[in-house]
């Protein structure tokens, strides 16, 4: 750590505005959160109508959106207008207000998760909204609110496909959240802290130097086994192939979001993509050294963005290549395989840390 450490984003905003004390904290936090939230929403906006199509097209030998604007980029506003201009159809017998709340809870839970993610430095700013001591636990707590939203949507839609999708989502999240968190605990054991910035900081030392190339002690390199476990559980948590069972379009139409249209659908869509990015952010933070990368520390944010987009690319890659599990197989893999492995990993890590420290 050289020079003065960069300021947390809310502090930076407060200082820039010259607002001291509580008022500064509140205003700074609000403005910073607004900015970060919008950056993330922009990512999903780009990912949903454009990047996803382009990536899928690349895997399937096609061109995809190329008519409107350079590289078809103007499809993004076009899709937004198109989706929002559609009629909002609310099925008869829908259980309101949970039908209306579900599409808000999903993106909100993902956005909340970003509050404690250390996104690296951008110039003098340390792009992180808050750095509480239990940040690492908080982010999982926020992320798992998503399942509530899916159940609400599934149950409130008054549609059997939705109900099946909602129930599948719960079963899946239960089965994979425990391995996910147990595996995350091994990271905590390594880092010795629950503070997100601490976990990132612990990954900055060099692990080995091979032929002049320094490999940092990212936990993905320190404990690849845990990384794979976490990656798998993470894919299941965000419901991407091969774990896209709650939606499973060829089986249960669109799962919990079957009955959603127009703005509600957009919210669900945003929520899902935000969760992909949040999943990427957690993975980056816990295993890929956070925002670290070659170059000066002040462009760390760029590396962070690259890493979460790489994760997004990975999810789309799996989507092109992987068959989907059956629900009972998924549960079996979760409870009988992943859970056992994650505990084994935890014990292994504890022994390792106990021996070396």
């Amino acid at each position: 750590m050289s020079l003065a450490p960069a300021q947390l984003f809310p502090e930076f905003v407060a200082n820039a505005l010259g607002l001291p004390g509580i008022a500064g904290e509140i205003v700074g936090a609000l403005i910073a959160a607004f900015l970060v939230g919008n950056v993330m929403l922009t990512f999903t906006g780009v990912a949903g109508p454009w990047a996803k199509r382009k990536i899928t097209a690349a895997f399937t030998d096609r061109i995809a959106v190329n008519r409107i604007g350079p590289f078809g980029l103007l499809i993004i506003p076009a899709a937004a207008v198109q989706l929002l201009a559609k009629e909002l159809i609310i099925p008869e017998g829908a259980d309101r207000p949970s039908y209306d709340l579900a599409p808000i809870v999903l993106p909100a839970s993902a956005l909340l998760g970003f509050a404690v993610i250390p996104m690296g430095n951008l110039g003098p700013i340390n792009v992180q909204l808050a750095d509480p001591e239990v940040g690492f636990a908080l982010v999982f707590a926020f992320a798992s609110i998503a399942s509530i939203s899916l159940v609400m949507a599934g149950y409130a839609s008054n549609n059997k496909y939705s109900l099946l999708g909602g129930l599948r989502a719960v079963a899946q999240n239960l089965a994979y959240e425990i391995p996910l968190i147990v595996t995350a605990m091994s990271v905590v054991v390594f880092a010795g802290t629950l503070q997100t910035s601490g976990i990132v900081a612990a990954q900055q030392e060099a692990l080995v130097t091979l032929g002049g190339i320094t490999i940092p002690s990212w936990y993905a390199f320190v404990n690849p086994f845990a990384f794979l476990l976490f990656l798998t559980a993470n894919m299941a948590e965000i419901g991407r192939n091969p774990f896209d069972i709650p939606e499973a379009p060829t089986e249960i139409v669109a799962g919990y979001q079957t009955e959603y249209s127009s703005a509600y659908f957009v919210l669900f869509y945003l929520g899902e993509f935000l969760h992909i990015f949040l999943g990427g952010a957690i993975l980056t933070m816990a295993f890929l050294g956070g925002a670290s990368g070659p170059g000066p520390e002040s462009i760390g944010f760029v590396w962070f963005v690259v890493k979460i987009w790489a994760f997004f690319l990975f999810t789309q890659w799996c989507r092109a290549a992987m068959p989907r599990f059956r629900i009972d197989q998924l549960i079996e893999v979760g409870w009988k395989g992943m859970l056992v492995l994650s505990f084994a990993n935890l014990v292994l890590t504890a022994v390792l840390v106990g021996v070396t420290v």
Binding site: A57, A58, F59, T60, D61, R62, I63, N66, W317, C318, A320, A321, M322
Partner: protein
Amino acid sequence: MIGLLKSMATTMKHALDGSTFTVEYPETAPEVSPRFRGVHKFSQERCIWCRQCENVCPNDTIQIVQDDQRNGEQYNLHIGQCIYCRLCEEVCPVDAILLTQNFEFTADTKDDFVYNKEQLKNVPWYKGIDPLNSRNPDRNAWVGEGDGEVDYQ
């Protein structure tokens, strides 16, 4: 696990080789076979009003109106109803009705697809391919008489 990796490698190989099979229609007009069957073109100069095409048509797409001297007055063809089987071209003894390669046609209502002889005459060739020439090598195959019972329907 090996199988999973193979799947992922295969898809990535396709992504990286960069080749696409998308045809950017309408900027690039697709290649069609010289035998391709599109909208009909009718030539009143050639037509002898024998009505064989009307008879052979499997779903009554062609309608011919003649006066009491058996002179042709109307030749109507519903290109929206047509199943493009090419039997009319096949039975025509004088090549008066041909199926061009032209597949581009639109209309506001279904009724607009009923082409009269003027409209049929004005159907453009696709990429300048004249089916009469392009199918020339094939023509002798079906022009010719069967032995035994021959009647012209």
